[in-house]
Each structure stands twice: as C-alpha cells, then as structure tokens.
C-alpha cells in the first residue's frame, strides 16, 4: 500500500531554515538525512522532495474553460506543504510508525493513502 507523507509547516511559527546559523542548518539536515537513509534501507521509500517557501508558488486555475495564471498558492493558509515523500508499506500502522520517526517536530505529517489504479476497472492500469 502506498501513502504520501506531506510535511506540513506553519510558515509563521516554524523555524525558517535559511535564517538559522550554519551549525543548526547542518544539524537539521543531518537528522532528516538519517531518516531518509533508514526508510531507504528498509526498502520503503518511493521518492520525495523538499519544497521551497510558499512565496515562490504560482497557481494555474481554469476559469470559463481558460487557464488563469496567478501568483501564490491555491489555498491561502499559514500552514503549507514543506515537502513530501511517497512510501510503500504494509498498512496504515506502518505509515504512522514512519511518520512518528520524522525528526522535524516543528512540522506535522499528513498521511494520505495513494489511489491504486490497478484497482480501477476504467483506468488503463486496471
């Protein structure tokens, strides 16, 4: 079963990594790297990325059938997605256990089950 873990941070209250000194930045990245290495060694990681600050976001939406490009995220919120990974594990308990090990305690981890297109009769993969 695949799940996407979305790392949610409050951009007003959580630490701005760029503003931290070098040693603190290195410590943050070392902890996150260890987490990635462990999940990778367990064969559960299916990729993921860290995202830039939401102020660099652009949104394309569709209005009356025409694409409309605007500055900023689709949902205006203090909480934004700071990064994501996809994992492949047995069940929700496994996904919860991995999320509990995420070292950035200033962030929340949202666990979203991924749609399995092989279960969908009308999808080419089904």
């Amino acid at each position: 079963m695949k799940y996407m873990l979305l790392f949610i941070k409050n951009e007003e209250t959580s630490a701005d990594d760029a503003a931290l000194d070098d040693a603190a930045q290195r410590a943050h990245y070392a902890a996150v790297d260890r987490w990635f290495a462990e999940i990778g060694r367990e064969g559960k990681l299916r990729g993921g990325e860290e995202l830039q600050h939401s102020n660099s976001t652009t949104t394309v939406r569709f209005q009356d059938g025409r694409p409309l490009v605007t500055d900023g995220p689709f949902m205006e919120s203090k909480e934004t997605v700071a990064g994501f990974v996809t994992i492949d594990v047995a069940d929700l308990d496994d996904a919860i256990a991995i999320a509990k090990r995420w070292p950035r305690q200033d962030q929340a981890v949202e666990i979203r089950p991924v749609v399995n297109h092989e279960d969908m009769p009308n999808h080419p993969a089904g």
Binding site: M1, A90, D91, L92, D93, I96, I111, P113
Partner: protein, 413 residues
C-alpha cells in the same frame, strides 16, 4: 427455541456472539466493511424474527447462516466482491471459535486512533456488541442518518487507508489500549449520565460497557488500567439505582440510601483494584476508581475519608491535569481544609470552566457556606442555563426555593 425472546435475552446473545462472528468474517474475507455489513444484516433480521419465533437454541449458528445467505444474495448482485464472497459461500464450514484473538483484533481495529472518537464508539457498539445503527443513534441522541453516515465513513476509511486488523505490538499497546478504554468509558458514561430515572431503554449501555471491559480484562489479564476501569464502572453501577427518588429527582451522594448500594459489587471492585495495583503503577482509571471506592466504602457521608480522597485527586491532577479534575479536587479540599482555600481554587478555575454547569453548581454551594445567598442563587441560575439534563435541572431549581438548601458536587452522581 428459548421461551424468552425479550430484549435483554437477545442483547445477551448479541454481546456473546456478534463480535466473535464479525471478527472471524473479517479475518476470512480480509474486508472489514463487507464482513461487518453481513453480520449487521443478520442482527437486523434476528431483531425481526426472534421476538416472533423465539431465540434459536444455537443463536451463533443461526446468525452465521443468515450472514451467509446475505453473502449469497450480494454475490448475485455485486460482482466486485465476487472473490471475497466466494470465500464465504463455497463449502464454507466456519469455526468462529478457532481464533480467540479475532474479537480482540476487531476491538483494536474499531478503536484505531486514525478514526474519530465518536466513530470508534459507534463502530465498537455495532461490530463488537451487535447494536444496530438505529439503537446507537437513539443512545447518542443523533439522527439515524447522521449515525449511519458516521459509520459508513469510518468503515470506508478502515478499508481505503488500510487500517490493519491486528492486536498492536507491545511498544504500541499502552497508547492503543488507552484509545479502547476511552471509548468504553464514553459508552458507560452515556448510559450512566444519559439515563434518567426511567431506565427502560432498549439497550443498557452501562451493562454493555461493563461486559466488554470484563471481556478485555480476561483477554489482557496483565493490563492494570483495564482492571481499574472495570472497577470504576462497577463502583458507579453499584449505586446507580439510588441516584433518583420515587418522583425521578436526582438524589445527591450525601442523601443516597447506602443500604441499597450493591455491596457485593463494591467488594469485587476493591479486589480488582488490589489486583491492578500489584500489576503496575496507578494510572488515571485506577486513581478515579480508588476515589469512587472511598465514597462507596464509607458507611455514612460524614465518615467519608476526605484526606485520602484529596490525596488521590492530587495524584490525579499530577497525572492528567485538567480543570475538571481540579474542580473535583477543590471539593475534596473544602471537606479537608474548609471553604476558603476551596473558593480560592474555584476563583482560579473560573475562566476555564465558565461554561461548565457543575462549576457553577459547586460555586453556589460554597457561596452558601459563606452566607452569600444572592450570589449563590445567581450561580445556581447560571448552572441551570448550562445543563439540559432534566434531573439535574430539577435539583438545581429545587434548591433555589428559599427553604431548600442542599448541596450538589461533581462527585455526587
């Protein structure tokens, strides 16, 4: 056929059998949603048939056979479930007692922390206890449509998010067990506080909660908080019938007829507490039960061991701090140290408990001790505004009469 197809006889059968059947069908099909639906259908059919035909001699076999027929009906209609349903229909000779852990797995799945608490409670009552959606909706005072939707959503999440069907490992067990116990205590309290003097509801939630907690204590005999919660519920239950007078008005702890309390149950609860104490450090349910035991074991209200109760509340505040626990501690403090320190504590809690009727009822009682009768009456009026419970309202209104000065405390019921 048994000759007594009354509600209570049927409920006893559902309690004993439904969780076992549902648990094994979930294991066989690997589909919680489907298996639970089939068993629920069988319960609904039983509720129609048994009052007419009597409870069958082998009710488990009857329920299974009915669930199986439902599976065959579904198989004809619903091709997507074909593989799973075939497991139930092809030469199926189920032995539901083959895996004693099935029911324990079922309980932990229903009370998974990824489900909202109200959904945990509803699912447990349906899948483990065999209550119908309509009975659960009635007990929790929501519409049947709302309750049905809550259950459907929760079951869909179990399947879609792949919540596993298993007993959690040792490292997770304390947290996961806390979820189960919290849900069970909600069931009990709904039965205890929701029931008025007329206890003729179709299902006795207190009895259901005590039954399930007893079952858990046999399945997990080394868990002290399970024993402690069982003791706590039995202690409340032991004086349940004395909480109302003949006219249905609430009777306070100090005025209850202690000779009518169930002293055998109180003694058994004491034994459970001793057993729990030997198994580990006192947890939150143990402390609450020990407080209830102090009240239950006092021969008269005046002989209540308030210093001991105060010490237990102190431990409870340290373990699970919260304004309601502190309010209860303040009441014990008044009996030990007098109204002045108790009032100081109440003043400190005012902002947090402004919307809680028992805060105002307690405050009214203290104000009367100081002779501040006008302020006491205002506090009682505020308490009345904040409660919907008719028995509590009746009591509060009665003491606004100038000749009736009685006490209500958060321990009183």
């Amino acid at each position: 056929m048994l000759n007594d197809p009354t509600g209570e006889a049927m409920n006893a059968v559902f309690r004993a059998e439904v969780g076992l059947i549902c648990g094994s069908l979930v294991r066989i099909t690997g589909d919680f949603d489907l298996a639970e639906d089939l068993v629920q259908d069988a319960v609904v059919v039983a509720l129609q048939r048994w009052p007419l035909d009597g409870v069958p001699e082998r009710p488990a076999a009857w329920l299974l056979q009915t669930a199986r027929r439902r599976a065959i009906d579904r198989l004809r209609r619903d091709s997507t479930y074909r593989a799973k349903l075939q497991l139930l229909t092809d030469g199926w000779a189920p032995d539901v007692r083959s895996d004693p852990d099935d029911r324990l797995r079922l309980i932990f799945t229903c009370c998974h922390p990824a489900l909202a608490r109200d959904a945990q409670v509803a699912l447990t009552l349906r899948a483990v206890m065999g209550m119908t959606t309509s009975q659960i909706a009635h007990a929790f005072l929501v519409s049947e449509a709302t309750m049905a939707q809550r259950i459907v959503r929760a079951k869909r999440k179990i399947v879609n998010a792949q919540i596993p069907y298993r007993v959690p490992g040792a490292d997770e067990l304390p947290d996961r067990l806390a979820e189960v116990l919290a849900s069970l205590y909600i069931v009990f309290n709904e039965g205890y506080l929701g029931s008025g003097p007329d206890m003729s509801t179709s299902r006795d939630l207190c009895a259901d909660a005590i039954w399930l907690c007893g079952l858990l204590s046999r399945m997990l005999p080394d868990e002290p908080e399970v024993l402690a919660l069982l003791a706590l519920m039995r202690l409340h239950e032991s004086r349940r019938t004395t909480r109302f007078d003949a006219r249905g008005a609430l009777v306070l702890l100090r005025d209850q007829d202690r000779s009518r309390w169930d002293h055998a149950a109180i003694a058994e609860a004491g034994t459970l507490l001793e057993q729990a104490r030997r198994l580990g450090r006192p947890g939150s349910y143990w402390l609450q039960a020990a407080i209830a035991a102090c009240h239950a074991e006092a021969p008269t209200f005046d002989e209540t061991d308030w210093p001991q109760i105060l010490a237990l509340y102190g431990a409870l505040v340290r373990l699970s701090p919260g304004p309601v626990v502190r309010l209860n501690r303040a009441i014990a403090l008044e009996h030990v140290a007098g109204p002045v320190p108790a009032m100081e504590e109440l003043d400190a809690l005012r902002a947090e408990l402004d919307g809680y009727h028992l805060y105002w009822a307690t405050r009214a009682e203290l104000l009367r001790r100081f002779g501040r009768l006008d302020e006491a009456a205002d506090a009682d009026r505020r308490a009345i505004e904040l409660t919907d419970n008719p028995s509590e309202r009746a009591l509060l209104e009665a003491r606004l009469e100038p000749t009736v000065i009685r006490a209500i405390s958060a321990n009183s019921n």
